[in-house]
Every structure is written in C-alpha cells, then in structure tokens.
Symmetry: C2
Subunit: 730 residues, 2 copies
C-alpha cells in the first residue's frame, strides 16, 4: 500500500534522493550514509547494556532490538519539539511495551530533552528518588505521553490519542488550517497482541478508521516463557490485523534496515482510511550471547556479555556509557526542527484567529485546558424530580445538559445506551464520516457520543488516552453497569495513577439491579474503588446528591470519579439531601438531639436507613439520626472536627451503616452494619433486598438489640468488635 506521492508537509526531515520541492515518492527515500545510522545503533545498544549492568537489573533485550525503529522515529519521522515537550500538535509516541522504558529515555536524551541527562539515565533502577527514568515510563516526566507497563494499556491509550486528534481536527481544522493533525505512533511487543484490552482497542481503531494511528510491532517472537509460539502458534497476525480493518506492512530486517522502517512509517502516515500495523522482525538482545532468547528480556546481561555486546558492536569493552559527538551531532537538528515546527504552527494559529475568531477563542480554551462555566448548567435542586426516580435517570438529567453544551465532553457507553441515560438530544456519534450503519445511526469525527461496543476495558483505557492528549482538552465520560466496571478496573486504575480526569457513570449498582441476578449484582467491587488511591467512588442517594456527585467529579481535575447509580427508583429527599454535603463526602442527613443511634445510609439503600429511623421512633421509641455517606475519600479530606460532628465518635450512640455491599472498609466509620456477606440472587430488585434482610421490618429489631446492648454494657463493648447485624463475611 505504498503511496506513490508523499505529502509535501511530511518531507522536511526525510532523507531523500531527489526532492522536487513539492512531493516525493516513498521510493525516493534513501539513507546514503548507512555507517552513520549504524554507529548510532551500535552506540545505543552498548549504552543500554551498560545501564542495565550498573544496578544488575532492567530490561535490555527489547530496547536493543528496537534501536533501528527508534532511530527512524526520532530522527526521520516524528514531529516534536524537545524544547517544548507539550507542543500541542506534536506527534504522540506511546511505548506500550513499557518495560523497555530505557529505549525511550535514551532517545529523549539523544534528541535533547533538557532534563534527560546522562546522569539521569544512570538513575535507571537506582535508589534515586528524583529519577526521571523509572522502570516503566511515567506521564509526569517530560516526553512521556502516558504511563505504561501493564500490557495492553499503552496501545489502548494510543487509540484514544488518535481519536482525540481526529475529533479536534474535525471540529477546529478548516481549509488551509490544519491545526490538529498529529500522528500517534505506538510500539508494542508480542505481549500486547495477546492482552484482551489491546484486541478490543484494535477492533475499535479499525472500526473508526484511525488512519493517524500506526502501531509498530517489535516482532521478536520472545516472551518471558520462551518463544512466543508456545502460547500463540496458530495465529496469522497480519491476516488478523487486516480482518480488523488495518493496513499491514512487513519489515523483514528491523535490526538494521532504518531505511525500510522509514519508508514503512512514511507509507503509514499516508494511509487514507485505515490504521497501520507495521510488523517489524527484530532480535531481542541483538549482539549479546543470549540474542533471540528469553534470557535477554528482563535481567542485566552480566559483565562478560556486556563486553561481548560492545565487541560485537565495534565498541571498546573497557569503556562505559560512551556516546560520541558524532552520535549527538546526528540528532542535533531535532531541536531546531522542533522550534521551526512550533513557529509554523503558532503562525498558523494566529492566521486562524483572524479568519475564525470565535472558533479560535474556543480552540485556545481547549489548548489551555480551561473549561467553560459548567456550574450554571447543573440543574438547581428545584429543577430536579421530587417523585421517586432512579439515580441513573437523575445522572442523565444532570449530565446530558452538560454534554450538549460543553465541547470538551466526550461521552460514551459500552453498549448500554437504553439503560445508562447518557445519550442527549441531538447528540452526534463519534464515527468515521463514511460510516453508514444498518440501523441508520451514523456520525462523524466531530461527534462526541461514543459507542464503545461491549468493551468495558478498552472503554476505560482508551478514555485515558483521550484525557492524556492534553491536560483538560477532553473530559471523557464512560458508562456501563457498575458490575462491569470490574472488566475496566485495570484501565480505571491507570487513570487514577496518571491523575487523569475521567468520569464513569456506573448504573445498576447493588442488588437492587434485580432479576439479572448475582452475575450482575456487585458486592465487593466498591471495596476496590474505595481503596484505590486518587479515585472518587461516589454513591448518591437521590437526584440532589447525584447533582452533587457530578459537581465533585467535574471539580476533580486530577482524579477520575465513578458515579454509582441505581437502576430502580429511589425516594427523593429535598429537605435532607444536599449537593454541598456530597462535596464533604458525608453529612448529617437528619439530625436528632440525644440520638440513640446513628444510621449511615448509602446511595440507593438510604431508603432503608430512613424507613428504619421512622420505625424505630414509632414502634420502639428509639431516636435515630441519619448520616448520608456518598463518598469515603471526600470525607477523609475533611478536618477532624467536621468528621467528629458528623459521626459523633465520642457519643454513646452506636453507628450502623446500611449498604447492600460487602461491609469491608465501613468499619472505619461504623460499629455495625447491615450489609451483604454473600453474592446476590436473581429476584426482582425489591424481592432481592427483602431476601437479604434489607427492609425496615428486618433492620429495626437488630438495631434495637444493639442499642439495648450498648445501654446495658456501655459503648465500650463495641470497640474492636464490629457487628454484622445480618450475617458476617462468608
């Protein structure tokens, strides 16, 4: 699929036989001074083994094998500016095989990223806490687009980065003004092609025809266990990629043939309507005594083999960490080229400002990651329903006006549009503009509603890529049943780790989801998300709290949020519930002086706390106050005085949490719980609740018993003996 003509704008850093100033053919590409690229490869590989040897660790093999790919990318292909790593229209590079991180650190050094000094390179695997060279690339550091390591995540992020370019380009580009048109280049290894999340993302990239995405496969056929064929012998990967809607280009000598790689990547950049898969045969640990073997993967080679590598590469085995001036000179132009790129882009944007002032203003806001005043779009309490309403519906009432108005929101669902209420009137779907669906649902790249298909994991991991494109430019919102966010957990975790703002609309939470049964009823999952650093898991109890949850999520610029919502209708509590209260994580819902007990109501189970309160008062003369507790992490951020006021730690009233989940973690805030100690059951929601003891008739006597025990024995009897009022852990 090599195109005969290369677009002129891609010519500037290509090694060409002849340039007519307008266009060139892929065949015009020639690297005449092969010795020079070889010197770079030899230097690179020798330096890598030195780096791994110094602290006896790291991953040398693949980084050595990928050297020629790196030279092609950083010297000839990628558009970037070492002096301004966040240049908006830069090409994005993702190292999905993140364990080869020294590969990327080395090229950041060679191309002049200022903080990536030789001294810094040497911190790889050291005890230096200020290292810029962690074991896997981390987004916090210059030149790194996303944190990778857990396999399959990077390629999914890359799909998100490519989507972001397509979307922003479709919205803001105008004839003659190609403001956003960067490429995304993604390295993967054999492992990423086995991980399910990658396979989901590959399907989607083909479906969306992301021709601005190129995946470069470091095909060394070696994994930790040996030859990759021991777990993947039957697959024709090229045929499979083609069947997924991708171009495929083969490179037979990926170890040395920089020219062939450059030609392939140029062709990939010219792809008209498909993402491109470049299948590059390499040798892991090339030049070492363990070349082509799994032993080259994840350990230093040892001094003898390090010397061997140097000799094989024509370097002096007695010298370490050698990079000659000639090698530095080879990459020297990257800085000036980057400056030039930026200059041209800035001029383009200025001209655009004159031609399209309004769009330009919006574009500038997007570039800066500023958001419009969204607070005014959130319905006031008075505008929200007063009759029983499912919080998944409430979330739609709050979120959809935002989605309709705010260009930064990209909202999608893992094939549950009819259930999750995230589709707004007049939404445009994100689709390839040529796509025509059998059911009439089309769209284009300006669309901001994403049909992810039944791919929860890819939804979360690609969304991280959307969010990582440029801080604040895109806010991805995903949706599916809460239970299925267990599929997405590895992606959500990576979002939290990277401080990427995303919002996950998780409906059908708790056993209230009903007939679908235990497979669909989450019990333990909230414990994961409540324990996960830098993640807000928020379970609102009614529409007002749902508005509060959305406000908290929108304010959390460096933190993903999960809004955990009910399938079933829940009562509304306009005189108790408070969006401001949600911001504090927990708050007094119904105060009661001299209370005998504090009932903690959570999300859809608030109704049981409230009804139990009534029953305790009417039948047992017990005074119960009620606390609403939508978010543990927000509560933890409050001052201790506030916490004491809400939970009344020092009173003699026991605190009982009511939630249809495993109680694990609530012991911090409660003395006793009405909770789930087993998986759920296929019954209509109300019947399921009753079956597991979630009704006031069942709860009130248990609370009464607890109160009586405390009256009898003093509140000290509870210390360290959490009471599972409807059965313990099973």
């Amino acid at each position: 699929m090599a195109p005969s003509a290369i677009p002129v704008e891609t010519l500037n850093h290509l090694p060409l036989k002849t340039v007519n100033g307008k266009s060139a053919a892929v065949d015009d590409i020639i690297i005449e001074d092969v010795e020079k690229t070889n010197l770079v490869l030899r230097t690179f590989r020798s330096f890598i083994v030195d780096l791994c040897e110094q602290f006896k660790g790291g991953h040398p093999g693949s980084a050595m094998g990928m050297a020629a790919i790196g030279v092609a990318l950083w010297k000839y292909i990628m558009k970037y500016s070492p002096e301004n790593p966040s240049f908006f229209n830069r090409d994005r590079f993702v190292l999905s095989n993140g364990h080869t991180s020294i590969f990327q650190y080395m090229f950041l050094h060679l191309t002049g990223y200022k903080d990536m000094t030789v001294d810094q390179l040497k911190t790889y695997h050291s005890t230096r806490t200020d290292s810029l060279c962690p074991g896997h690339p981390e987004i916090e550091h210059e030149g790194i687009e996303v944190t990778t390591g857990p396999l399959g995540q990077g390629i999914s992020n890359a799909v998100g980065l490519a989507m972001a370019t397509k979307h922003l380009g479709a919205v803001y580009n105008k004839p003659g003004f190609s403001l956003v048109d960067n490429m995304t280049w993604c390295m993967i290894g054999d492992a990423c092609l086995q991980e399910g999340v990658a396979l989901e993302s590959i399907q989607l990239a083909g479906h969306w025809k992301l021709n601005n995405l190129t995946v470069i496969y470091d095909n060394n056929q070696v994994t930790c266990d040996g030859s990759a064929d021991i777990a993947n012998s039957a697959e024709d990967v090229n045929a499979k990629m083609r069947a997924c809607g991708w171009n495929v280009i083969d490179i037979l000598d990926g170890n040395h043939d920089v020219e062939a790689i450059v030609k392939a990547l140029v062709a990939a950049r010219s792809s008209k309507d498909k993402p491109t898969f470049v299948n590059v045969r390499t040798i892991i640990g090339i030049g070492s005594q363990v070349a082509g073997d799994a032993k080259a993967h994840g350990a230093a080679l040892g001094p003898a083999d390090v010397a061997h590598v140097k000799k094989q590469n024509g370097m002096n085995p007695d010298e370490h960490f050698v990079i000659s001036d000639e090698v530095y000179a080879f990459f020297r132009e990257t800085k000036s080229r980057g400056r030039q790129l930026e200059k041209e882009w800035n001029e383009l944007v200025s001209a655009y400002a004159a031609e399209y002032p309004e769009l330009h203003a919006e574009f500038q806001m997007r570039v800066k990651g500023e958001t419009e005043d969204w607070m005014k779009l959130i319905p006031s309490k008075e505008e929200l329903p007063t009759t029983p309403t499912a919080t998944r519906k409430s979330a739609g009432l709050v979120c959809n006006p935002l989605a309709a108005k705010l260009p930064s929101l990209m909202v999608g669902t893992a094939d549950l549009s009819p259930s999750v209420n995230t589709a707004w009137k007049d939404k445009v779907d994100f689709q390839n503009p040529d796509f025509r669906s059998a059911c009439g649902l089309n769209g284009d790249y300006t669309g901001r509603y994403i049909h992810w298909g039944i791919r929860e994991h890819a939804m979360a991991s690609i969304s991280n890529g959307l969010a990582a494109f440029s801080k604040g430019t895109i806010l991805p919102i995903t949706s599916t049943f809460f239970m299925f966010y267990i599929y997405a957990a590895p992606g959500i975790r990576m979002g939290a780790l990277q401080h990427l703002q995303t919002i996950h609309i998780a409906t059908h939470d708790s056993i209230g989801t009903g007939e679908d049964g235990p497979t669909h009823q989450p019990i333990a999952l909230a414990s994961l998300y409540r324990a996960m650093p830098n993640l807000l898991y928020i379970r609102p109890c009614d529409s007002e709290e749902t508005a509060g949850a959305m406000i908290a999520a929108l304010n959390a610029k460096n933190t993903p949020s999960i809004l955990s919502l009910s399938r079933q209708n829940v009562p509304q509590y306009p005189s108790s519930s408070s969006r401001e209260g949600v911001q504090r994580g927990a708050y007094v819902f119904v105060e009661e002086p001299n209370a005998d007990v504090t009932l903690i109501g959570v999300g859809a189970e608030m109704v049981f706390a409230m009804k139990t309160r009534e029953l305790l008062a009417s039948n047992h003369n017990i005074r119960a106050r009620v606390v609403s507790f939508p978010c543990q992490r927000l509560f933890e951020a409050q001052p201790v005085e506030y916490k004491r006021e809400v939970l009344q730690y020092r009173s003699n009233a026991p605190r009982v949490v009511v939630e249809a989940y495993a109680v694990n973690g609530w012991e911090r805030y409660a003395d006793a719980g009405i909770s789930m100690s087993s998986f759920g059951k296929s019954l209509p929601g109300a019947a399921a609740y009753k079956y597991f003891g979630f009704d006031e008739e069942s709860i009130a006597p248990r609370v009464l018993e607890l109160v009586e025990e405390v009256r009898r024995e003093g509140v000290g009897c509870l210390r360290g003996e959490f009471r599972d009022l409807n059965g313990g852990m099973k």
Copy 2:
C-alpha cells in the same frame, strides 16, 4: 470443510437419507418432515414471548432467534442424558450469551430434565426464591455447566471444558477405549466477540487446536445500542477466526434451516485439528413487530406484539404457554438415548477396568472428584528454608512436589515462568502434540503445565471451565504477578460465585516488588479480594505460613484462593510461624504478657512488625505482642472467643496493623495502621519500603506516640477514630 464420512459413533441421532450401518456422509443428512421442526420452532418462540410477558421482563429476542440452533443441538447433535445431567462423558453446552437463559431452560424442559417443569419455567423473572430459572444460567441447577452472564466468560469457560476433555482423553483413553471424548458446544452473540477475554480465549483455542470445541455464533447483528456495526463495522469476523486458527462454517438461514445447522455441527464434530466457528445468521425477535431491532433484546414485547408473534407462528393468540403433545413427542427419545449412552459408557468403563486396572482406579477417583492424600507431600516445617527466602520461592517448594505427583493439578502461568516458580522438574507442557516450538519447548495433551501467554483474564476464566468440567476432577492453579490479577478479576469473581476450587499463585505483591514501579505495585487490589464472598486471599509471611496457605487452599473444595507472595526475600520465623495458625486466619505470633500494644504483621511486611517490636522494647521500654494475620476470611470463620484471644479487644493495648496496602478493611481488627495512602514508586524494593515509611526506625516512634496517648486518655479515645500513622487516604 465438510468431511465426506461421518464417524459411525455419531450417527445414532442423526436424520439420514441412507445409513449403511458403518458410516454416512454429511450430505446424507436430511430432515424430511420440515413441518415438524417448524412446529417446534413456532411453539418455542410463542412460549418464549409468553414467559417474558408474564412479569414484563427478560430477554426474548435472541432466544427466539436461536430456536433452530437449539433444535439442532438438543434433538440431533448433543450427547447427554436428561435423567443424569452429570453423566461424565456428556457433551458440554455453554450459553455464553447468558441473558438468553430461557432458551436453555426451554430445551431442558422439552428434553425432560425432571425439575424443569412448566411451573418452573414460569418462575422466570418471578419473586420465587426457589426458581431454577434465574435471569442468567447458574451452575447450581441441573443441566447448566457454568454460570454465565458477564459477556466473554462463557466462551472462555468453554475453552476450559474442551481442554479438560482433551487432557483427560489423552491421559486415560486407550485404543478401543474412548472414555472421555465429549464435545463442547458454546453459543455466543455479537457481544462475546467484542470482549477482550473472549478474544484471548479464541487465540488459545486455536493455538491448542481444540477440535472438540465448536462455537456457534448467533449472528443477529444487534446489540443494545442498535446495529452491531455501530461499534464493529470494519471487521471480517470469518477471516479473523481463520487467522486465529479456526475452521469457519457459514449458515445463511439460521432461523429455519435446522438441516443446514445439523450438517454444520456434524462437520464441526469431525474437525481434525481446529476448533470450529459456525457463523449462523439469525433474526433477533423473529416474528415480532420489532424483529431485527434492538428493542427485541431486553424487554417483554407487550401484549399486542405477543399476539402478533403467535399469529405469525400460526398459534392461537388467546392461548398461553402452549406446548402440544406432538412437540413433546418430538423430543421424547432424548431420555432413552441418554440412558443408552450411559449404558454403553458404563460398559466401556467396566471393560477398561479389566484391561487397565490401575489406570481405571485412578480414573474412577478423578470421576468421583476424590483426591489423593496430598498432605504427606507438603514439606514439614523442618524441611523448609531457615534463611531469608521469598515466599514466591517457598510456594514453589510447596506446590511443585504436589504438581509433580497429583494428576488432578493443572498448573499454569501468564508468561512468568522464570518469576513465579510454578514449573516443576520434568513437567510436561499442555500443548497440541503436533506443536513444535521454535525454542524447543513442546508438549502434548497429557501435559499439566499451561503456558497461558500474556492473557491473565483468559487464564482465570478458562480455569473456571477446567474446574467446572466435573467437580474435583481438575484443580487449576494459575500464576502471575499479584498486580495483574486485576486483569483476571472478572474471572476470579465468577469462580468464587460458582464455588469452583482454583488456586492463584500471585507473586510480587506489595511495594516490595520494587523497580517496576507503581504500575506493578498493588495498593488497592487486596481490598477487592478480601471483600469478595467465597474467596480466600492469603498473604503468608514466610515459608511455613506459605505451606499453611497452600493447605488452606487445597482444603477449600468449594472456594478459590489467592496466595499472595513476595518477590523479595523475607526472614523465616520457625519459632513463631505456624501452618495451623494460617488455617485460623490469624494467630498469636509472639505473645507478650501485659502488652502495651499489639502489632499485626501481614505477609511480607511481618518483618517490619517484628523489628518494630524489638526496637520498641530496646529503645522505648514498650512491650509489643505480634499477631500474624494472613487471611481475614478464615479468621472471620473462627469462634468469637478465639478472635478475642488473638486480638485482645477488651484490653487497653491498641492494635496497629502493618501492611503496605491501602488499609481499607483492617479497621475491623486494628485501631491504627502503617499503610499506603498513595500509589507506589519505582525504587528497589527496600528503598521503596523506606520511602513510604516502612522501617522500624520510622514506625516505632509513631507506635510509641499512640501508646502514650492511650495511656494518657484511655483506650476509649480510639473508638471510631482509626489512626493512619503514616498518612491517610489520598
């Protein structure tokens, strides 16, 4: 790929033009009385809409579309015995699109599964707590092989079931004695072909050449959001399956053409060396006014459309739940056929007993799910290391002798053989016997070491299928880094829900894993597994406790276990640690009369509890006792007296847990914690611990301060105010 000759043993329930008594060709198959199969289809579809209508819910559309597939399977193809659903050599049927569960319930009824009465069918979506017809199929009920619902799981289970057949057949079958040779038939919908776990499993089935697995694709091109193409337009699914090493057969009219389906399934059964993918075009909700539309998927059709369906099917719209005698008669032979199958198999086994008495004895044990006396294979405390040893190494010392001797163990790894120590000397890999690896690692179907590739999710979900083949026949053991069990979480959850015994060897736990950094350092994941019903998450502190953890996992016949193990060496505590203690979840590690504080040490962080104890004694004159706490769920099962004795709730000594995870959930057992409140950091393990305050120099003063506060203010000051001694939730 239609074979010309059908093996004679498959002839008995096929509709054939001519039978020569020895063999027949696929072309000989003919269904002459098409009217009769049509009557069954019409009855089936009309009954389905009645079932969904009665309680206004359920999933009618796909069940209606798949009717002809069901008739082909249950009438003509599958080998099973309705009167003995657990007949060992039965064909296994898996409904991976589990939301169509009424499809299966209907056929269980029609073919005579005794408890599946019309009355039971009518419990679908009812409040009947004794229903055998939950929203998704559940393993507890007769005729259901695995619980499905979360998409992609069933097809993965089916791969495991087919592996089990291959393995058992390879071990026990002899010429003339095909004891285990059943087929696995798996229904999937569009969704399963999008889920990553299914895509991983498809790769593996192709790799292992599981020709005894047939996946039947209900290709109705409709998902909840509309036409499946809105999230999957670019894919050529047949080409993709072929590229994964599968046969592909197309069925163009899957709605009515039972004969074509039967021919395809017969051909699939005859596949020599590949799994088969039968791509069956169907119409969702066929015969209804919403036929072919997403509206037919997940809701009752309403009375008008129910009547319409009946009319379209030539049934009386005023009659409900009608199954004529003719329809019952159509399936009547299934029972006698089943009895005959069993009879022949029992005779075969008896003859085998005479010929191969020893193998037969072992086989009978496997069939009954009995295990050999494994306890004697566990090394005694004296045989275990006394010098610092990583618990991942200890686990190998305990597990590998078991794996070498016990035929029921199938042990595998997600491509981390060099790290997880699960490979034993002279292991044979589970591979297709024709497979020849580039690296020399071959194997055959007798092999019990499984290279899963980098597919953690499929590893867990396929293992559920291995375990579900027949209770106790196969005990799957998986392994990878603990962090990557977050990818496997949906599968592990399904194992716990189904009460399937599996053991997961999770190495490199906590921040001690070191240089790989925060992407590889689990913080929150243990909170998920500790909260998950029916799962043992066990974190042993040394070799003796690792032996105890393995014993607990082996004893848990209805429960999966995760053994959470260190990468790094940890001290051994032969005078304190106790395998018996592990069985109780927690126990006194070092007693101290009149202690000032109880330190709870967990897993690899026990070292910090023990060193802090020493430092408190030597520098601060503080008496600390130490509790080891490897498993919360085992501890919860203990009598309250034991719990009080271990944790001394009623004493004035505060309890401090020391674990490098999020502390969530420990508040039940401790008043304070040294824990992690953020993600980790890429540093060598020891440096990472120190960085986050895990060293006795840092811990002891904090504990001291706590003890002094308690002395000053009384232990009551701790109630309800858990102390995060090295920083709280962030």
